[in-house]
C-alpha cells in the first residue's frame, strides 16, 4: 500500500504527471475573480473566503479523472485488482495520493492567495484550517466519482456532473467556517460538521468506491 502511494506520488512529480496544474488553476481563478467583480477592497475581503473555497474545489475537480484513468489505460488497474491488496485499500491510497498532490498544495497556497483578495487578518487561520479539514473529503468523494466513470469515453464532463452535487455539504460547511472565521464569529458548529463530513466520507465512501470499481473492471 505504501509502495502504491509512493509510486503515485513519484508519477505525479515526474514530467507529464500534472503536479502543480491544480495549483496554477487555483491561482488563475483567484486572479480572475477581481477582474470579474471589480477591485473594491471591501467587497473582495467579504467574498474572499468563499472564493478561495470555490477555487480550491474547482482545482480539485480538475484533476479527478486522472485518479484512475491512467492506471486503467495501461492495464495496471487490472493487475492491482489481482494483487494482494484489498480494493478498499487501493481506492483509499488513490484518494490520499490525490490529496497530497492536489489538496495539500491548495491548502498551503490559500493564505498567499488570500492576500490578493484582501482577506481580513482573522481569516487566514480559518481558511487554512477549513481547507485542511475539507479537502480530504473532496478527494475521497472525487475518487468515488472517478471510480464511477473509469473506462467511459468522455467521462470527464460526466464526472463533474456527478461529483459537484456531492460536494455541496462540504462546500457549505467549509466556506462557512472560513467566512465566520474571517468575520470573527464562532466557528465551532460548522467546524464540527465539516470534520464530521470529512471523517465520515473517509470511513465509509471507500467501500462504495471499491464496489463501483469492481463492477467497472468486470
Amino acid at each position: 500500500m505504501i509502495a502504491l502511494l509512493l509510486r503515485d506520488l513519484r508519477l505525479a512529480v515526474r514530467a507529464g504527471g500534472g503536479f502543480g496544474l491544480g495549483l496554477a488553476f487555483f491561482l488563475i481563478v483567484t486572479v480572475l475573480i477581481p477582474f470579474g467583480v471589480g477591485p473594491e477592497t471591501g467587497l473582495l475581503s467579504r467574498i474572499a473566503p468563499g472564493v478561495l473555497w470555490i477555487g480550491a474545489l474547482l482545482a480539485c475537480l480538475l484533476s479527478l479523472d486522472r485518479i484512475f484513468a491512467l492506471d486503467w489505460e495501461d492495464g495496471s488497474l487490472d493487475l492491482l485488482a489481482t494483487a494482494p491488496l484489498p480494493m478498499e485499500g487501493i481506492v483509499t491510497i488513490k484518494a490520499l495520493a490525490h490529496w497530497i498532490t492536489t489538496g495539500l498544495p491548495l491548502v498551503l497556497a490559500a493564505p498567499a492567495l488570500g492576500v490578493l483578495l484582501s482577506l481580513p487578518p482573522s481569516g487566514y487561520l480559518w481558511v487554512l484550517v477549513s481547507l485542511a479539514l475539507g479537502t480530504p473529503a473532496l478527494s475521497v468523494i472525487g475518487t468515488f466519482g472517478a471510480a464511477l466513470t473509469v473506462g467511459l469515453k468522455r467521462g470527464g464532463l460526466l464526472l463533474s456532473i456527478l461529483v459537484l452535487p456531492l460536494y455541496v455539504p462540504t462546500l457549505i460547511f467549509g466556506a462557512e467556517v472560513a467566512r465566520r472565521g474571517a468575520e470573527g464569529l464562532a466557528v465551532q458548529t460548522p467546524l464540527l460538521m465539516l470534520a464530521g463530513i470529512s471523517f465520515g466520507t473517509l470511513a465509509l465512501l471507500p467501500f462504495a468506491s471499491a464496489a463501483v470499481l469492481r463492477i467497472n473492471l468486470r
Binding site: F144, L158, I161, L162, P165, V168, I172, F173, N216
Partner: protein
C-alpha cells in the same frame, strides 16, 4: 404467491396493463377535480390573495419530487439485493418524472415567491434543497445514459443513488444551517396550529392524490416502455446469434 412474482418482466407488463387505465383515469379525475375545486371554488386568502392557489400545484409537485427519489432509492436497493431487472428499470423510469416534478416545484415556487417575497428567487433553504435535488436527478440520469451495458449501468446508478441519498440528506441540513429562510413551515403537518385552513386543505388533498396517481401511472408506463425496449433488443440479439 409472493410479491416478487411481479419482478418478472412479462408478469409486470400483464399486471400493469390491467391497472394502468384505471390509475390514469383516476389521476385525471383527481387532478381535474382538485384543481378546479381549488382554483374556482375556494376563497382567496386574506393575506396572500389569489396567489395562494398555486399551492395546488406547488405542494404536490414538491412532495412527489422527494417521494420519487425515495422510490428510486428503494428500487435501487431491491436491485442490489435481489437483482430484479424490473426494479432497476423502474428506478430508471422514475428519474425523469421526479426531475420534472422538481422543476414544477421550483417554477411554481418562483411564481409564488415573486408576489409574496418580491423576488423570483431567494436562496431559501427549501428552494435551495430542491435545486440541489434537481442536480442529483441530473447526475443520476446522465450516468444511466452514459453506460452501454445495461446491467453495469443498473449497478452503478444504484450505488450512486444510495450514496447520493446520503449526500442529499446532508445537503438538506447543510442548507438549513447556511441560511434560515423566508419559506413558511410545513404546509401539511398533523399539528393543526400551523396547518392551512380546511377550506384549502381538502382540494389540496385531492390534488396530492392526483399527483401520486399520475406518478404511478407515468412510472408504470415508462417502465413498460423500458421493458419492451430491452425485450426488443434481446429478441434482435437472439435473432442475430441463431
Amino acid at each position: 404467491m409472493s410479491i416478487w412474482e411481479y419482478a418478472n418482466p412479462v408478469k409486470f407488463i400483464r399486471t400493469t396493463d390491467r391497472i394502468l387505465p384505471w390509475v390514469s383515469v383516476a389521476a385525471v379525475l383527481c387532478l381535474v377535480t382538485g384543481l378546479v375545486w381549488g382554483y374556482f371554488f375556494t376563497p382567496d386568502d386574506y393575506r396572500q390573495g389569489a396567489t395562494v392557489k398555486i399551492i395546488y400545484l406547488h405542494v404536490p409537485a414538491a412532495l412527489m419530487a422527494i417521494n420519487a427519489w425515495i422510490m428510486m432509492l428503494v428500487a435501487s436497493l431491491i436491485w442490489i439485493v435481489r437483482r430484479h431487472h424490473v426494479s432497476a428499470l423502474a428506478a430508471r423510469a422514475a428519474a425523469p418524472v421526479g426531475a420534472i416534478f422538481t422543476v414544477i416545484a421550483l417554477a411554481t415556487g418562483a411564481l409564488w415567491g415573486q408576489p409574496m417575497w418580491g423576488t423570483w428567487w431567494a436562496w431559501d433553504p427549501r428552494l435551495t434543497s430542491f435545486l440541489i435535488l434537481f442536480l442529483f436527478y441530473l447526475g443520476y440520469m446522465a450516468l444511466w445514459s452514459a453506460i452501454e451495458n445495461d446491467d453495469t449501468a443498473a449497478d452503478l446508478t444504484s450505488i450512486l443513488c444510495l450514496v447520493g441519498s446520503v449526500f442529499a440528506l446532508l445537503s438538506r441540513y447543510a442548507v438549513l444551517f447556511w441560511n434560515q429562510g423566508l419559506h413558511q413551515g410545513a404546509s401539511l403537518s398533523l399539528d393543526k396550529e400551523e396547518n392551512v385552513a380546511d377550506v384549502f386543505w381538502y382540494p389540496l388533498l385531492v390534488c396530492i392524490a392526483g399527483f401520486v396517481l399520475l406518478f404511478v401511472a407515468l412510472v408504470f408506463l415508462r417502465t413498460q416502455t423500458e421493458i419492451r425496449a430491452r425485450r426488443t433488443r434481446a429478441l434482435l440479439a437472439r435473432e442475430s446469434r441463431t
